[in-house]
Structure formats: C-alpha cells, structure tokens
C-alpha cells in the first residue's frame, strides 16, 4: 500500500488551475486547493469529496503538501512565491504556465526546491514520475 500524496494547487480557479484540478481529481491524491482569499466562496465547490478541499491560506496548503502546483498568472507569481517560500524547501514545485521566463524566475527564487514545468494535461504523468524518483 502506498502513502497517499498531498498536492497543493495554488491558483485553483485560474483557467489552468481548473484544468489541473480536473486531471488530478481522477488520481489517488489528497488535493488542497487555494485561490485568492477575496474570492467568492460559492465558486469553491468540491462535490464534497473528502480528498479535495479548499484551504484559506497558501502557506498552510503548501506546508502540508508533498508537491506544489503553481497555476498563477506570471505577474502575481513573485508576490505569491515570496509568501510560501519557507515551506517549499526540498519540495517539487510544478509550474503550469508554460512560460520559459517563469521557470527561470522560480529556479532563482526557490533555489532549494525542485522546479518542474508542464502543461495541465500532462500533470498526472509528471507527478507519477516525481513520486517514483
């Protein structure tokens, strides 16, 4: 029996965030979803799945997570990352923006995390590879 991995998705209501949630919801993961604190809670539906829940603080979500997926617009990335940096040490961080500059910036701002980049439809495959290594 394998220990279930916890995955935090930061920016879960962004376009790519929604796609990531959709793909990962089919897998055997515990998903912690975060979107801007100001967002209307009515949008945050999870079909009452015990394996998917909204977390009100990105630091708490990332602290609990084994793997973190960043689905935030590049202009917000710097501010969000500086807030969660301390709990990302040693953890795989996956960027789904598919922008070269974003990945480079993440590698600079998170030197003690492992940075990966992929598109939402490949997220499950990448996570399985990360878990195996």
């Amino acid at each position: 029996m394998a220990t279930k991995k916890t995955i935090a998705i930061i920016g879960a209501l962004e376009e790519k965030g929604r796609e990531v949630v959709q793909y990962l919801a089919k897998g055997d993961y515990h998903l912690l979803l975060f979107y801007k604190e100001t967002e209307d809670p009515a949008q945050k539906q999870t079909d009452d799945s015990p394996e998917m829940e909204w977390i009100s603080c990105p630091v708490e979500a990332c602290w609990e997570a084994d793997i973190v997926v960043l689905a935030i617009p590049s202009e917000e990335q710097r501010e969000v990352v500086s807030g969660i940096k301390t709990v990302l040490t040693g953890k795989p961080v996956i960027d789904v923006s598919n922008e070269v500059n974003t990945v480079k910036e993440l590698e600079t701002s998170l030197p003690y995390s492992k940075i990966f980049s992929t598109l939402p439809h490949n997220i499950d495959t990448l996570i399985q590879q990360i878990i195996k290594t």
């Binding site: 220990t3 602290w63 301390t86 953890k91 003690y112």
Partner: protein, 192 residues
C-alpha cells in the same frame, strides 16, 4: 519552524549561525494530520523525521491483525524505520500521526549531502544512533526480564507525557501486554 531542531542539535554539538542557515536547506517542512501516514508497510522509508509539534508512532501488524507499537515520537524526538532508510529495502512498519503534527523531514540522499556540507553533523547523528541503540537494548532487556507492572512503571518514567496523550490500548500494545493486564496494573497502582 526550526527552533526545536536547532535546540536539539546544539545540546550535542555547536553550530554556527551560518551552519544553522545552511542546515535549514536540507529539511523539508511537512504538516501531517492525525491518522495520516508518513510511511506504510512495503514502501521504502524515504525520510527521517524530526517532530517539531505533535505525536507519531511506528508499528507493525501481525498475521492476526494485532498492532505492535515499536516507538512513539513526540516533540523534540526523531522517528523513522532506520533499517529501510539506510538499506533502501521495503519497510515492515507503518508510521502515522496520532495528533496533528509538524515535522522536518530529511531524505536519504540529502542526509549524506548534509554530512558532507556540515561535518560536525556526523557527530550529532552518531550520538543519536548511539542513544537509540542503548534505548533499544534496554527496552529489549526490560521486556525479557521485567514483570508487566515494572514495564508500565518504566514507560511512565521514561516517556514524558506520552502515556497521557494516547489511549490505553496503545500503551498495552507498546508494552506487549493485553488491555486487561494493563487495566489490572493501573488499578493496583492507584490503590497503593
């Protein structure tokens, strides 16, 4: 987040502020909720965990479904399956959280890198393993030679407040006695 770990280390060796900063980069901060697993039987134990907050246990389950608790780990303690961690072989144990917990994890490969980066940590881990070996030998000897009442008394004396934080059945499982025997011992001790 790392204060308790630094305290624990600095009781055994002296780290400079620069070494403390470097040390932080080797540990993965991880929160575990009550009943969540850090390790399950059959997996290779990837981590050694230092408990900053909370309580965990390691245990095995026999063919009849009985749990045998090997170790509890509360704040300021380490927990892992050392055999699996060092050999890379699948573990026979499970490690789960008995309370919501905050851990600092170190992976096997990062452990080796840490010893190279901060050589005095070699002494720290040697002292930990030495103490662990002594505690294991003592526990084995106690189990083979002491009556159940003495085993319980020793646990109360050596395990800080753990007995107050866990159900009676887990104390019995740790001591290798039945719940009924434990209940009899507690009644007898309370009557004295």
């Amino acid at each position: 987040m790392h204060e308790l770990l630094f305290q624990n280390i600095n009781q055994r060796i002296n780290l400079s502020p620069e070494e403390e900063e470097k040390l932080k980069t080797f540990f993965i901060p991880k929160k575990l909720r009550r009943r969540q697993y850090l390790l399950q039987e059959g997996e290779v134990c990837q981590y050694a965990a230092f408990v900053e907050k909370g309580l965990l246990r390691s245990y095995s389950i026999d063919k009849k479904g009985n749990e045998h608790i090997m170790q509890f780990a509360m704040e300021n303690w380490w927990i892992s399956d050392l055999y699996s961690f060092f050999s890379g072989e699948p573990s026979s144990y499970m490690i789960d959280a008995l309370e919501d917990s905050e851990l600092l994890l170190i992976k096997r490969d990062r452990y080796e890198e840490l010893l190279k980066a901060i050589p005095s940590m070699e002494r720290y881990f040697r002292l930990l393993l030495q103490n662990n070996l002594i505690a294991t030998q003592r526990r084995l000897n106690d189990k083979l030679s002491l009556p159940a009442e003495e085993l319980y008394r020793t646990m109360i004396e050596t395990c800080d407040n753990i007995p107050q934080r866990i159900p009676q059945q887990m104390i019995a499982s740790f001591l290798g006695i039945t719940r009924e025997t434990l209940s009899r011992i507690r009644k007898k001790m309370a009557a004295k």
